[in-house]
């Protein structure tokens, strides 16, 4: 356990009967971090969160919060609070009573209680909503009240279970930024669970990608998105073109890779070691591929002729599927729509060239 880690999850497993919901997970979360647990439904991320909250007990392994082993602590004494997925607003209490619920035990004076709740209402921009009934709140307001109710307890760690899952798209995008700003302001450690990759990328300082109860990889959003180590993470976070290849040789500080689909391509010789002759999977992010008319001069290292198969105009950008001469699997290219220039490349059967740079080529081990 390093000095830095505030929450330490050490070799934790949780079995429900024969199901290994969480399978030998190790995680270290620093103080003040906004940490995202990302994965498809059923990957064990919620179970892991519920173990941090004390609603589930690990089958094996140990969890330390602020250097205290948390196994023995009853959950109502833990220095953590939780925002539930459906917000779990008490339906029989008004906003004030909801927020004040956790302060009952503190035996505050009436004035002090009012002051604390008012401060919380101000924080979530719901001044004057104290007397509203739970059923009078919109989805976004319920989310804020749930947040305030947990934060008045001044927890060392705030856990959030799909905090924005119940909100519609525009509100969700706005709340993502608000939530992150709030966390930075308060300096409290936030751990949240989501299945939405954009939410994880937008809000987290670090992300752990989970699948089948295991943590596949973890790191800063840009690292996970731009340099994923596993095919699962590469595919789950955004779109990715996967191309089968084989190492043909090493040319200085670059690998030379033979592919059926793109011919011979190069990739930088990074830390990951590949042997000559080894088969591997190449990953190319659609936004790292450039599409241009055949005639135009291409400045990047790799360029291949292709034909537009189909294209989806999305307004601010387009998804263009191109096929290469002898390849059946189309390659996806994403292009930002700068001043409507995109329209020139959306026509089916248009002859185009696609290009990419060596350093955008991702090399993934076949397992």
């Amino acid at each position: 356990m390093t000095e830095r880690s505030f929450i330490s999850i050490q070799d934790v497993s949780k079995h429900f009967g024969d199901v290994r919901a969480v399978d030998n997970v190790d995680l270290e979360i620093a103080k003040g971090e906004f940490f995202g647990l990302l994965g498809p439904s059923g990957c064990g991320k919620t179970t892991l969160l519920r173990m941090l909250a004390g609603f589930e007990t690990p089958t094996s392994g140990e969890i330390f919060i602020d250097n205290e082993p948390s196994a023995a602590v009853p959950h109502f004494l833990r220095p953590v609070n939780m925002v539930f997925q459906n917000y779990a607003i008490f339906p029989h209490l008004n906003v004030f009573q909801n927020i004040a619920f956790g302060l009952r035990k503190d035996k505050l004076s009436k004035d002090e209680l009012t002051r604390q709740v008012d401060t919380a209402l101000e924080m979530i921009k719901l001044e004057g909503y104290g007397n509203r009934g739970a059923h009078e709140l919109s989805g976004g307001q319920r989310q804020r009240v749930a947040l305030a109710r947990a934060l008045v307890k001044k927890p060392k760690v705030l856990l959030l279970d799909e905090p924005l899952g119940a909100l519609d798209k525009k509100l969700r995008e706005q709340m993502q930024l608000e939530l992150r700003d709030l966390q930075r302001e308060l300096g409290i450690t936030f751990v949240f669970v989501t299945h939405d990759q954009e939410e994880a990328l937008t809000m987290s300082d670090r992300i752990a990608v989970m699948a089948d109860g295991k943590v596949l990889e973890q790191g800063a959003p840009a690292k996970i998105y731009e340099r994923p180590q596993t095919r699962f993470a590469a595919d789950f976070l955004g779109s990715m073109n996967f191309i089968d290849g084989q190492i043909k040789g090493i040319d200085g500080d670059a690998y030379v890779i033979e592919t059926d689909q793109l011919g011979t391509i190069k990739a930088p010789n990074t830390a990951q070691k590949f042997a000559e002759g080894e088969k591997l999977t190449i990953g190319l992010r659609p936004e790292n591929i450039q599409i241009s008319p055949r005639a135009s001069k291409v400045q990047r290292e790799n360029s291949v002729n292709a034909v537009v198969k189909t294209a989806a105009y999305l307004g601010d950008r387009a998804h263009i599927y191109v096929v290469l001469k002898d390849a059946s699997e189309p390659v996806l290219v994403t292009m930002q729509n700068l001043e409507g220039a995109i329209s020139n490349t959306l026509e089916s059967n248009l002859d185009v060239a696609i290009s990419w740079s060596d350093r955008s080529v991702l090399m993934l081990k076949n397992s």
Partner: protein
């Protein structure tokens, strides 16, 4: 979108509704009508208007004794069967699907046993174990048939009950005991009240088990039954029946309102 506000079904359904309501309420409404009819014989054509049957009603000692007995049975029965209903609902929602179906069946089966057979069984049971017949035995019989009803009312409520609010209370530092009193109980309250009113009504109205299981004390339905032997008392019975109809109507309306209120509350709780 397009909630289809016009859709109110074919027009014959309106006619049907009216006919059906006449069919069911015509006999029932004869009761209050004849209770003001100035004749001992209950038959058309009606004679003049009188309130003497209602006045007569107020003078019958046995009536108030029976009314008291009915309350003595129905109040504890509603409390006990609702308490058992809560426990049963808790127990049943705890089980997994398969066991739950079987146990729910076992819990509610008494409902479909013919009351006459249930009455005989209970009579035999009391005799076999040497227990005396009294209002106590009536109460026990009523609890037996009231618990399944209480269970029905409470089950749907407990199933739509959002347990995350209990977890939220624990998470905010309350003990399980305080969580029950601060969260579980108040949120489940409308359902509990509905169950109390329903089981009270069932016990209050029940005839056959009471008939088999009572000793010398009669409850209200049994008192009514005994009055039927005297044709001269029929008009007063009609007045009594009318009074019971009105009270029943009021209780059921309150219970239904409570139930709906609880639904609305839970509805927003789940969103």
């Amino acid at each position: 979108m397009s909630a289809n506000p016009e859709k109110s079904g074919p027009s014959w359904l309106g006619t049907y509704t009216v006919c059906y309501l006449i069919f069911i309420y015509l006999p029932v409404l004869l009761l209050p009508v004849f209770s003001f009819n100035d004749a001992i014989y209950v038959a058309f054509p009606m004679k003049g208007f009188t309130t003497r049957w209602w006045a007569e009603l107020a003078q019958q000692d046995g009536l108030f004794e029976a009314l008291k007995n009915s309350f003595l049975v129905a109040v504890p029965v509603s409390l006990v069967s609702t308490a058992l209903g809560i426990c049963s609902a808790k127990a049943l929602t705890g089980y997994r699907l398969f066991g739950k179906q079987i146990f729910t069946g076992l819990f509610t089966l008494p409902l479909v046993i013919p009351f006459i057979i249930l009455g005989i069984s209970l009579l035999i049971a009391f005799n076999s174990y040497g227990l005396p017949l009294s209002l106590w035995s009536v109460g026990i019989g009523h609890v037996l048939i009231c618990v399944p009803f209480s269970l029905f009312v409470l089950m749907s409520r407990l199933e739509s009950f959002d347990h995350s609010i209990e977890e939220a209370s624990l998470d905010l530092g309350e003990t399980p005991w305080m969580t029950f009193w601060l969260v579980t109980f108040p949120v489940a309250m409308p359902g509990i009240l509905a169950s109390l009113l329903l089981t009270f009504t069932i016990s209050f109205d029940e005839f056959l088990l009471a008939f088999f299981l009572t000793g010398n004390d009669s409850t209200l339905p049994i008192y009514i039954y005994s009055q039927l032997r005297f044709p001269a008392k029929l008009p007063a019975v009609l007045a009594l029946g009318s009074a019971i109809l009105v009270v029943t109507f009021i209780i059921v309306t309150i219970a239904e309102r409570l139930r709906r209120q609880g639904d609305a509350q839970l509805g927003t709780g789940v969103e």
